[in-house]
Symmetry: C3
Subunit: 205 residues, 3 copies
C-alpha cells in the first residue's frame, strides 16, 4: 500500500520533470504527454519486454497513463512556479530513482532470475526512462555523462540483494536499499559527486 503511494509519487515526479524537458524543446501538448509517459513508464516497460514479463504495468493499470499525462499537462500550466520548487523536485526525482530501482529488483527476484539480472533489472527500471526521454529529445543521454545516477541505482540494487542474502526479511531490505540510495543521491547532488570519465580522443573509427 505504502509502495503503491510511493510509486504514484515517483511517476508523477518523473512526468513533471519530463514535461519541463519537452517544454525546453518547444513540443506541443501531445508531445509533452508522450514524453512524460515514456519517461515515467518507459524504464519499467523496457524491463518487462526484455524479461518477457507480461502484461506491462500500464497495460494492466491504465490509470497510471492518465496520472502521468495529467501531471505533465498540469506542469505545462504551472511552469512559471516550478523553478521555486527546485529542491522539492530533486528530492522527488531521487525518490523516484530509488523506488523504481527497488521495484525492478523485485520483479526480477519474483521471476527467480540470477542476482546479476536482479541488479540489471533494477538499473533498467530506474534509469532507462530518462535515457528514452533524452533520445526522443535528441540529446546524448544525461545518464552517461553528468550524474551519479546509474551508480546510485546499482548501489540500491546491491544493498537490496545483499540484505536479502544476509537473511533479512524483504521489508528490511526495501527500507535499507531506499534509505541508502536516497542518502547517497542527495549527498551526490549536494557535493557534486561524479564518476570518473573516460575521455578518448582519436581519429580512426
Amino acid at each position: 500500500m505504502l509502495f503503491v503511494t510511493l510509486y504514484v509519487i515517483a511517476i508523477t515526479a518523473e512526468a513533471m520533470t519530463a514535461a519541463l524537458s519537452a517544454g525546453r524543446r518547444s513540443m506541443d501538448w501531445v508531445g509533452v504527454c508522450v514524453i512524460a509517459c515514456v519517461t515515467a513508464l518507459g524504464g519499467g516497460s523496457l524491463r518487462d519486454v526484455l524479461l518477457g514479463h507480461y502484461p506491462l504495468t500500464w497495460v494492466k493499470h491504465p490509470e497510471y497513463l492518465l496520472i502521468t499525462a495529467a501531471a505533465a499537462l498540469l506542469t505545462a500550466f504551472i511552469a512559471p512556479v516550478m523553478r521555486r520548487l527546485r529542491a522539492l523536485f530533486l528530492l522527488l526525482d531521487a525518490l523516484g530513482l530509488v523506488v523504481f530501482t527497488v521495484i525492478g529488483c523485485q520483479v526480477a527476484l519474483e521471476m527467480q532470475l540470477s542476482p546479476i539480472i536482479v541488479l540489471v533489472s533494477g538499473m533498467i527500471t530506474g534509469c532507462f526512462g530518462g535515457v528514452m526521454r533524452d533520445v526522443l529529445c535528441n540529446e546524448i543521454p544525461l545518464l552517461f555523462r553528468h550524474e551519479l545516477y546509474a551508480s546510485v541505482s546499482v548501489l540500491v540494487g546491491l544493498v537490496f540483494i545483499g540484505t536479502l542474502y544476509a537473511g533479512m526479511p524483504q521489508q528490511v531490505a526495501v527500507l535499507a536499499a531506499m534509505v541508502t540510495g536516497l542518502v547517497v543521491r542527495l549527498l551526490a547532488i549536494r557535493f557534486d559527486w561524479h564518476m570518473p570519465k573516460f575521455v578518448y580522443r582519436d581519429d580512426w573509427k
Copy 2:
C-alpha cells in the same frame, strides 16, 4: 479484404516518404530499405511487443517487408518525379495514419484491453513508425513539434471506440473513424492547424 488493400497502400506510402527522409540524409540503399521498413512497420511492431501480441505482423507475413523495401528502392529511382506528386503523398500519408490507427485499436480490442489502452494502441501504431524514423535520422521527432498528427490519431481512436460503445457494428465504427480522421487531417494540412506548444526556458536541469 478492402482493409488489406488499404494496409498495403498505407505501408507503401509510409515507405516512400521514409525513403525521401533517408535520401535527405544521404543514406546508402541498405539504409533506405531499413528506414522504410522501420517507418512502415515499426509502429505496429512496437505495439505488438508492448502488448505481447505475437507473432508480429511482418514475421507472419514477410511479404510486407518485401513490399516496403521495393517501394523504398523504387522511390530512390523516381525521386525527381516525386515533388510533382506532393499532394498525392500527403493524401496517402493521411490515409496511412488513419488506417494504422484503426488497426491498432482493433488489435487491442481483440485482446479485450481497456478503452484507454485501445486508444494508446491506436496512437502507437499510427505514430511511432515516424518517431523511430526521426530518431534513426537523428532528428527531434516531428510528431512532437510541428504536426497535428498524434492528435488526429487520438481523435480517430475516440470516434472508433465511441461508435462501438454506442452499439454500432464494427464496419460502421471503422468507416466513421477513418472518414473523420481523413477530413480533420486534410483540413489541418490545408489550414495549417497546430496544437498549442509548451515553451519553457529555464537554466536549471
Copy 3:
C-alpha cells in the same frame, strides 16, 4: 563449443570498440559499460524481442554481461595502446559481424520461420547493436551511411540459407557463410567499397 568461443570473442570485440565510442563522447564509466552491453548484446536482444524468443541470451547467461562490462572497462584503461591494434580490431569486428549474423539466422531457422525472416533475423543480430550505440551516442547510425556492413550481413545470410537449401549439412553452411562474409568484409575495408548512396535534396516535407 567453437561457436561459443567465437561468440565470446565477438562480444568482447564489440564491447571494446563501443567503449572507444563512449570515450569519444566523454562518458563516465557507467556509461561506458552500458554502451558496451547495448552494442554487444543489443542486436540479439532486439531479435529475441521481435521474434518472441524468450528468455534473452544475457538473461539466461548473465556472465556475458560481465564479460562485456569487463572488456569495456579494460579498454578504458588501455586506450592509449589501442590505436596500435587497429588492424586487429577491424578483423575482430568483422568476425563479430559474421558470427552474430550466423547466430541470428540459426535462431530464426530453429523457430521454423520463413527464409526472408531468417535473413532479417541475421541482419538485426549482426547490425542493430551498432545502430543502438549510434542512437545513444546521438549520431546518425553509421550503418546507414558509410559502411558495407549491413550488405555483408545480408550476404552472409544468403550464403547460409542457400547452402542449407542446397542440402549441405549445417556445419558446412556456417563455414561457407562465415568465410564468404569475412573475405568480402575485409576486401571492402581494404578497397574502400561502398554501396551506392541515395542523395535527395528537396524542400518540402
